[in-house]
């Protein structure tokens, strides 16, 4: 599903983001990526959604080499990867429903299709009854669930969640992790980037540890070992 071959990313000023990373994530896997702040986890996410280009190496997603993807192809790539961020990135002046629908509107999906898909996505994340509320009228956990619903509407094969529980209390954290697990259960590959030791340990899934831009460990049913 995702394959990185000798991928390096160096920022101006010779700042190393990633060094010679080799990874293979299979379809349907649930992978946690851990590491301290500034070690290259977010660089990895940015490379996967083509927000950054690798300095060297090759990134292949679903057979598509995105290492030198054209800017006109980036939107197509992003519709195939659902992205969830710590800071939600919701539009405050749109309701929960409208925020989820927005992802389909900008992709040119017909209104009748939008009316069919959005309620399904809201049902999966358990927000059907809060569809008409604005982001400020729902809790942090619910806001993150809106983001997950939004990331699901294109039926992506991969979901990349970058610190999705970073702003949440423990109850909401577990709700989000459960939701990601359920989504993974549907066959969607999930890459969870996190600092949360408890979450990683409880998942008992593959753990990739990054330190100073290098993959220092990659263990099936691993633990948070930093």
């Amino acid at each position: 599903m995702i394959r990185l071959k000798n991928v390096s990313k160096t920022y101006p000023g010779n700042i190393v983001g990633l060094q010679n990373v080799n990874l293979h994530i299979r379809p349907g896997e649930f992978v946690s990526v851990v590491g301290q702040s500034g070690t290259g986890k977010t660089t990895l996410v940015k490379l996967l959604i083509s927000e950054e280009r690798p300095t060297s190496g090759q990134i292949v997603i679903g057979g598509w080499d995105i290492s030198s993807v054209r800017s006109s192809e980036v939107p197509l790539l992003r519709r195939q990867i659902g992205v969830v961020f710590q800071d939600f990135k919701l539009l405050p002046k749109k309701t929960v429903y409208e925020n989820v629908a927005f992802a389909l509107e900008v992709a040119g999906v017909r209104s009748s299709r939008i009316r069919a898909i959005v309620p399904q996505a809201l049902k999966i994340v358990g927000l059907t009854d809060k569809a008409d509320r604005f982001p400020r009228q729902v809790s942090g956990g619910e806001q993150q669930r809106v983001v997950i619903a939004r990331s699901l509407v294109h039926r992506p094969k991969i979901i990349v969640a970058d610190e999705p529980t970073g702003n949440l209390d423990s109850i909401n954290t577990w709700e989000i992790i459960d939701l990601l697990r359920r989504i993974n259960g549907f066959g969607t590959t999930v890459m969870l980037v996190t600092h949360n030791r408890e979450v990683v340990n409880s998942l008992q899934r593959r753990v990739i540890t990054i330190d100073r831009g290098l993959v220092v460990s990659d263990v099936e049913e691993g633990k948070y070992v930093l």
Binding site: I49, S71, S72, P75, L76, L77, R78, R79, V83, K89, L90, L91, F102, A103, E105, V106, A107, G108, V109, R110, S111, R150, S151, H154
Partner: protein, 305 residues
């Protein structure tokens, strides 16, 4: 591509226009000023041509013959002048009519007319009033009249320096046109900067929305499109405002211009009404080209899609 896709781009563009209402208003105002100054340039051109035509139509040259020159010889000169291609018409004024015209021009009872009474009899000879097709034609008339055959018959020639007058008029309108062109260019440059800045502010205002659009896979066209729609709305409004301002202004100025140039010689309202479509169409196309190109530059620079 579905029909709803372009409609959504239009909807987002209209929303952007109203969300940045005051910025939009400022942009439309400057664009309107630019279009008005372009129209002033067009009007100046039209008025300049009318002024030259009016002045040229009033130009004539009078040749006063000696009293002892009989009518048949004057008419020979008239035929000679009419044979010149530069001459449009030659009017023969007999001595009696010349006297009457003098009386009419100076008013009965005036000192000049009274002094004529004392002379007793008609001091005027016959007169030829010559009109050329244009002011440059009077040189040929002068040349003919200066021939020895005719020169001895003539008492006086009244050739005002009409060429200089027309040249001065052309110079004034020419300078005015250059001035208006400079004003138009200045407004155009200001409009370009305002449009550029308006797009920049609009990008800044929508930075959150744009980043989310990118994140969820909006195409580059979908992100750029609303800015073009906004630029198109600015164009339509500025040209529309110009038409709304121009027609009442022309109707207001019309009586003054007609008094100045002579009634019937100037009808700018009709000129605009007849040429409305090509004039407005050309200006709208010009402003649209300017705003759309500027928007393309601004989005390329600030939007980074």
């Amino acid at each position: 591509m579905k029909l709803s896709f372009p409609m959504r781009i239009v909807r987002f563009g209209v929303q952007d226009f109203f969300r940045n209402f005051w910025l939009s208003a400022a942009t439309v105002s400057v664009l309107t000023l630019t279009v008005i100054s372009i129209n002033a340039l067009v009007l100046m051109n039209v008025l300049g041509k009318i002024a030259v035509t009016v002045v040229e139509s009033k130009i004539d040259a009078s040749v006063h013959f000696r009293q002892d020159v009989d009518e048949s010889r004057v008419k020979t000169v008239r035929v000679a002048l009419l044979s010149l291609p530069e001459v449009k018409e030659v009017e023969y004024v007999p001595p009696e009519e010349a006297l009457q015209r003098f009386r009419n021009a100076n008013g009965e009872g005036s000192e000049l007319v009274e002094s004529l009474e004392e002379i007793e009899g008609n001091p005027f000879g016959a007169t030829l009033v010559i009109r050329a097709h244009d002011t440059s034609g009077y040189a040929a008339v002068m040349h003919t009249l200066n021939q020895p055959l005719f020169a001895g018959l003539i008492e006086e020639k009244d050739f005002s320096d009409y060429d200089a007058m027309v040249s001065r008029l052309n110079a004034i309108t020419g300078k005015l046109e250059v001035f208006l062109l400079a004003v138009t260019c200045a407004f155009g440059a200001i409009a370009l900067m305002i449009v550029m800045n308006a797009v920049r502010v609009s990008v800044y205002t929508h930075r959150e929305e744009i980043s989310i659009m990118r994140l969820v896979g909006a195409s580059n066209w979908f992100i750029r499109g609303p800015f073009y729609v906004e630029a198109f709305i600015w164009t339509l409004l500025s040209v529309g405002m110009t038409v709304l301002i121009l027609f009442p202004s022309l109707a207001f100025a019309q009586p003054f211009l007609q008094r100045f140039f002579g009634s019937g010689s100037v009808d700018l309202v009709s000129f605009y009404a007849v040429n409305l479509l090509p004039l407005v169409g050309l200006q709208a196309a010009g402003v649209a080209f300017m705003t759309l190109v500027t928007t393309k530059l601004a989005t390329a620079r600030y939007l980074r899609v």
